[in-house]
Point group: C3
Chain length 396, copies 3
Amino acid sequence: MEKFRQILNDLETLKFDMHNKDFLLTWEKTQDEIVATVKVAEALKNLYERNISCKVFDSGLAVSQFRDNSTRTRFSFSSACNLLGLTVQDLDEGKSQIAHGETVRETSNMISFLTEVIGIRDDMYLGAGHTYMQEVSKSLQSGYEEKVLHQRPTIVNLQCDVDHPTQSMADLAHLKNYFGSLENLRGKKIAMTWAYSPSYGKPLSVPQGIIGLMTRFGMNVTLAHPEGYSLIPETLEVSKKNAAKSGGTFNIANSMDDAFKDADIVYPKSWAPYHVMGRRTELLRANDSAGLKDLEKDCLANNAKFKDWECTEEKMRLTKGGKALYMHCLPADITNVSCKAGEVRDTVFDRYRVETYKEAGYKPYIIASMIFLGRFKNARAMLAELEKKGQKRVAQ
Amino acid sequence: MEKFRQILNDLETLKFDMHNKDFLLTWEKTQDEIVATVKVAEALKNLYERNISCKVFDSGLAVSQFRDNSTRTRFSFSSACNLLGLTVQDLDEGKSQIAHGETVRETSNMISFLTEVIGIRDDMYLGAGHTYMQEVSKSLQSGYEEKVLHQRPTIVNLQCDVDHPTQSMADLAHLKNYFGSLENLRGKKIAMTWAYSPSYGKPLSVPQGIIGLMTRFGMNVTLAHPEGYSLIPETLEVSKKNAAKSGGTFNIANSMDDAFKDADIVYPKSWAPYHVMGRRTELLRANDSAGLKDLEKDCLANNAKFKDWECTEEKMRLTKGGKALYMHCLPADITNVSCKAGEVRDTVFDRYRVETYKEAGYKPYIIASMIFLGRFKNARAMLAELEKKGQKRVAQ
Amino acid sequence: MEKFRQILNDLETLKFDMHNKDFLLTWEKTQDEIVATVKVAEALKNLYERNISCKVFDSGLAVSQFRDNSTRTRFSFSSACNLLGLTVQDLDEGKSQIAHGETVRETSNMISFLTEVIGIRDDMYLGAGHTYMQEVSKSLQSGYEEKVLHQRPTIVNLQCDVDHPTQSMADLAHLKNYFGSLENLRGKKIAMTWAYSPSYGKPLSVPQGIIGLMTRFGMNVTLAHPEGYSLIPETLEVSKKNAAKSGGTFNIANSMDDAFKDADIVYPKSWAPYHVMGRRTELLRANDSAGLKDLEKDCLANNAKFKDWECTEEKMRLTKGGKALYMHCLPADITNVSCKAGEVRDTVFDRYRVETYKEAGYKPYIIASMIFLGRFKNARAMLAELEKKGQKRVAQ
């Protein structure tokens, strides 16, 4: 209760204008909006844990569109929508189809007559996911202005080719909780580093999302990867600017050891090189399965050169006091558990396993917060009203 | 509010007895029942837009059974059920299976113990869809009488081989709104015409539904198609009788130009010939994929003879003042957009695009109205009660 | 109302401690807990039929995990969750994947942040289903203790390789209603017998569940099957002990006639022999489709030796007064209806068809009761409160 009041007070000091807008990229949001999103997530979590209903919708649809397989993001989205009172309806258009033009505009309107939010995951094709979401966004906006739609649904990016805001924001909420406050993150070193994995083609959106977001809090962000494993250049630019503005730093290293040195937080995770993802997108579009197989083979062979990019006990000893916080978006490739050689040694993972689970536990609330702020102009008053009303979530 | 009162007053003058009954074919319903369905849909839309909850169910299942792919009907059904407080559970029996006899009776009962409504789409097989719904209907009725079921769920036909009542009724609601009243439709000419499409095998239920319904409102209904593209004979009989009774006319033309001449409304849409659908049904049942390929080839070749059956600017100029309302159930085959040559020229479609979207926007409310009238004896009082209660749909 | 009061009074005399626990096997529950589960199911059914809302959850997820196809169990689970106010989210992991170790622990936690109940069906692999549920159970328990999860979801076994408690408990509720009381079951003879089916590989969980449960009520339980069609030995031991304790009997016969002789209840149903299911599990795991085909062929040939194990009119005449109650979990293989020769003759089935439907109708309430008792410490008070509140399930 004390904590809830504090959050409401904090929200009063923040300026945010997220009503009827989408949440596509964290760097399109102001600093206050980012902070507000974390605070509202904490407020909803607080109400949930005090068994107070967060149902602000009596009815209404939430559309989920997963253009890639998903379990945890699907459950996070479902949980968030359910918490607020929305019912999820999947839009299943077949995985291989990338609709464009009239189809996107038409479908976006057809599914939105009674819809409050649309969650989209589209991370398979480089250069496509974010573009697609922008197209849906424009379609909804024009449908609303043309009076086809009574309300303008909010899009929540559940992972695209550029950013993974529900992940990076959940990570931020976890860091805030772990270190006590967002202010405490200032000066902390976080190592976002590539790690070896026996699979290939993992999306770039997590490292891009992490460097794009954590550079806003005065952190010393080090991105590390073997040569050739670079990210989308624009996201590096964003990170540089953010670091400069926030009083932090943004460095790129070519060694995991350098990155881990004195780090407060390490985030070792595999991804495919930018140019490989580009090539893969071309091959996927051309339905060139032979080409895809060759690419995979080459890429795995190249990955194999960097098996020493593994988060081992030795590497952990390089970190601040040997006790850096290990983070991962899960599932991790764990050496001796899920594979012979992977991103992280089993003993390291095991020590931080519970922390990674808690990290994941913020995602439903972060998504609920994004929906909440996208639908309600006066989020603070709405939260206060929910607490005052005190409707029990589970009967007692 | 004024409008809502007017609807309640109008409902008081209508006689309808739809409680615990199904909505399978519009021509099984009385004129008053058709009008009541439109009015209740408008009332629900009015409440929705005034942010008043339409939740009449605290809990309860709605079963959806789609024997064909569907996006917009699926979302319309989901939206309608959600609006009223029902939760959709899909019945997925595999697309190719046409169950009969004991299986239908048993399954119909097994899925209905706590079920209020069953929405069925079954339009693939000529002679099968409506028959199947009748079988489910009988099964539910006997299950209710045998006290297996505590309540007798209402079936809503989401498209069968004979009729597509949720579409035609949404179209009617759109026409009512566009022309100001149902009375204003009297004497208006509507051209339901075949149009060229590069695909084949489109169901007959939309044109059949349109001629079967619009002939009831004193309209001059002209059905036009190339030779060989006739509809199920029974639906032509229904339309003739309806027109005679309502004081309208029903004509069949063999030219798109004749149909468009002085039309107030045009509805150009492709469909497969009746005999082709019959042959296709046989081949589908026999799993004869070679035969199906041949049939498709022949049919497409035949279609190609009628590429001039396209809704062009020239054809639109033939209509009343060159300004007939263009209608379509969507998605349309749009020349220069979704195909090289299709049902409608891009410039025509673009002029009416927003109208076709609004047309589609009535479907969730029409379905909700069908459920509402199927479940509540005194629908008028229930609507009045919802308004009086004034529960907010979205918190404010 | 009278009946409801009686149920509440009965509940007061029972000791049960099911809160925050799973329902995996009936023989892990005390006699009072079994009786309480039936009583709460009856109470919920009573409220439902009096149009009183049973919604005890304002929000919350129910996860369903079906590792085998399912229609009726899926609908029963959906109905139960919906009745109580929970929203079902499917966990679809692909049918062939049997996850172990870290994956189970991680997934179990990832899907449970806002989850109240997890329903699992896993009956394909002998030695795997129950083991899997135990693993999920441990994962949830540790997640709860590690403060990863705010609440500890309850697992409901929707059928495993060992038991099928939602079926056997629904059967018990049906018997209680049919014979007037649980006390009236004492001394009644029930014949759980194998029957011929033209298909193979049917799970053992139904006969195992029936003998394991019905032996607890002083019934004379006779299990009958051809040589070689034995069940998991442990379940026979459980049944023997239960019978000894309850004052009933448990016999194994090798003839359907012996079993039917003077029976009050017959439950003729096909299943695969224990050793065949074991061999099948090995072959499934090895992905040995040739081996599976051979096994099926052998097994069907062996089945065919026992075509006379059919519930015919002649056999029914052997039962008590020729009027034993016929039971089946459905769907049955009905001679002359669903196959040429099956488990039961059409005329017999037809006479009991409505009873089997009613039998199935208890399942949603049994599942709801298992959830209710797993989530609420004071179930009796909660039921009383629901009735007192008297919120209408469907508006009137």
